[in-house]
């Protein structure tokens, strides 16, 4: 069972690197032989050179698009899939503008990036992907057998992408 929870201090600014920050929590069960939501490919990159987020702010922003793209394509390669095989990209809820730049670099039209929750709930830090995935399923956008990529970035800097079969 994986659980994640994030809460901002009371007086903290709720805008970080151009994103509106929310509080929230989520949980997921990871099992060796799942009946559904099978993991097809996973990629994780860490660049310790950006450990000091404040000092390397501009470098992190500059590295964001190349490294996010790298994580995405590495995960797809491990899943032996191409962007055309994906029904949706499940993003993390950082600023929408960044997805308008990144989506074409991933070979995806914006219609295939699930952005509904960016304006609705903001960036719930580590819970974005789980919440967005469940909401996309609840909205009927995904059915069993569809393939999706869940992409996430964290300060540090970490980039992760998980390809799932719904």
């Amino acid at each position: 069972l994986c659980v994640t929870a994030d809460r901002f201090p009371d007086r903290a600014r709720r805008e970080i690197v151009y994103s509106l920050m929310s509080d929230g929590a989520s949980a997921a069960v990871v099992s060796r032989h799942p009946q559904r939501q099978r993991m097809l490919g996973l990629s994780q990159l860490t660049r310790g050179v950006y450990w000091d987020g404040a000092a390397s702010h501009d470098q992190i922003i500059s590295a964001y698009f190349p490294l996010a793209r790298q994580a995405f394509f590495e995960a797809l390669a491990r899943a032996e899939l191409t962007p055309a095989d994906l029904k949706l990209l499940i993003p993390h809820n950082i600023t929408l503008k960044s997805w308008e730049i990144l989506a074409p670099l991933l070979g995806l039209p914006m219609e295939r990036v699930y952005t509904t929750n960016i304006s609705r709930i903001g960036h719930v830090v580590a819970s974005d992907n789980v919440i967005n995935y469940l909401d996309a399923v609840a909205e009927g956008l995904l059915v069993a057998g569809d393939r999706v990529a869940l992409l996430v970035t964290g300060f540090g800097a970490h980039f992760g992408c998980l390809v799932l079969e719904v």
Partner: protein, 379 residues
């Protein structure tokens, strides 16, 4: 033969060195206050090296002023000029309309008016730019631009096109030499100043601040080493003059790297000079369609802090001329210069040396051409 060179910037300084090495008498216009003039003259003499001091005359003047701002004695000293190399220009891609018009259009008009008064004038070579507009993609020919319908990517390009039109209408024995992007010397990588776009990109990449770059797959960027550029300009200037001609002083398709090769060459050179730079794992910049790049620049403008906004603006300015894939035909250039035009090797053989030199001197321009500075770490 007496050659007037209208400025001693990057290309002008090297052209003066080449002219002096041919034992020609050279006068160079240097603008600025007496103290600035003195400083520029010293820098130029250091750059050109040990040539006969009396063969080089540094003349206070300014192409933007009437009669080039020359004092009567200086004007009399230039009365026997036989060749004019008009190289003075405002070359910043980020220059305002006023700056570009004053230096490049009014300045060229002033040089042409002065040249008309030279009784022994044999040839005037006007240095223009190969990257004149962003409407053309594919092969660009050595022809005049259309008089209407051209949308210019910068005020710099607009002003250079207007200056070309002035030269073509001048009825002087003149040529237009459209110069490609110029980097350090083939021989040693040296360059008097390292502020221009190719060097700015090297710095951004080294510092991990170059996220993306507009480029179509396989798109080339035409670039020349300084010494080849200057040798070619001097050879064109001194060649027997026929009709008014336009030359692309460019590398051409066969000798130009792709943008990906250029950026890769910077990374490889950095890795070789400083393995610790490579261990940082900074990502390679992405070559992206220009629409995506435009959105990136716009987003940085809207939401980024001062530094990234400034970088995005500069990148946008630097890359405007090369946002559409283009190559330069150089048939007339090759036909005029013969074997010299073909001596230039492919950029992949000289770029690493030029890039390495820039990092070794940490982008401080070389005051002295021949002397090498001690090596430095890349970062």
């Amino acid at each position: 033969m007496h050659v007037l060179v209208t400025g001693a910037g990057i290309v002008g300084s090297e052209a003066v060195r080449v002219l002096l090495s041919r034992r020609l008498r050279v006068s160079v216009l240097l603008r600025g206050s007496p103290a600035e003039h003195e400083q520029k003259a010293l820098a130029l003499r250091a750059w050109v090296g040990p040539h006969a001091a009396d063969a080089l005359d540094c003349v206070p003047g300014n192409i933007e002023l009437a009669e080039l701002g020359l004092e009567s004695r200086a004007r009399a000293g230039l009365a026997d000029v036989t060749h004019v190399l008009h190289v003075a220009a405002c070359t910043s891609l980020l220059s305002s309309r006023e700056q570009a018009q004053a230096a490049n259009v009014a300045g060229t008009a002033g040089v042409l008016a002065f040249a008309r008064q030279l009784p022994r004038l044999a040839h005037l070579a006007h240095v223009s730019t190969a990257y004149l507009d962003d409407q053309t993609s594919g092969l660009v020919y050595e022809r005049p631009l259309p008089e209407a319908g051209v949308e210019f990517h910068t005020e710099y390009a607009r002003s250079k096109a207007q200056a070309e039109a002035l030269v073509l209408r001048s009825e002087l024995p003149a040529s237009i030499c459209r110069l490609s992007l110029v980097l350090g010397r083939l021989s040693d990588g040296h360059l008097p100043r390292m502020n221009d776009a190719p060097y700015a990109l090297m710095r951004l990449l080294r510092d991990g601040l170059l996220s993306m770059f507009p480029s179509a797959p396989g798109q080339r960027v035409d670039m020349l080493p300084l010494d080849f550029a200057a040798e070619s300009l001097v050879a064109l200037l001194l060649a027997p003059k026929t009709a008014t001609s336009i030359y692309h002083v460019a590398a051409g398709k066969e000798r130009s790297p792709t943008i990906a090769e250029y950026l890769g060459s910077i990374q490889e050179t950095l890795t070789e000079l400083d393995p610790s730079w490579a261990r940082r794992g900074l990502p390679a910049p992405l070559a992206v369609p220009r629409e995506v790049f435009a959105r990136y620049v716009q987003t940085m403008e809207e939401i980024a802090g001062d530094r990234l906004r400034s970088i995005a603006r500069k990148l946008e300015g630097f890359t405007r001329p090369i946002q559409l894939p283009k190559d330069f035909d150089r048939s007339q250039f090759e036909s005029k210069l013969g074997p010299l035009a073909c001596e230039l090797p492919h950029a992949r053989s000289w770029l690493p040396r030029v890039i390495a030199h820039a990092f070794e001197v940490d982008f401080r321009g070389d005051v002295s051409g021949p002397a090498r500075r001690p090596g430095r770490s890349a970062s």
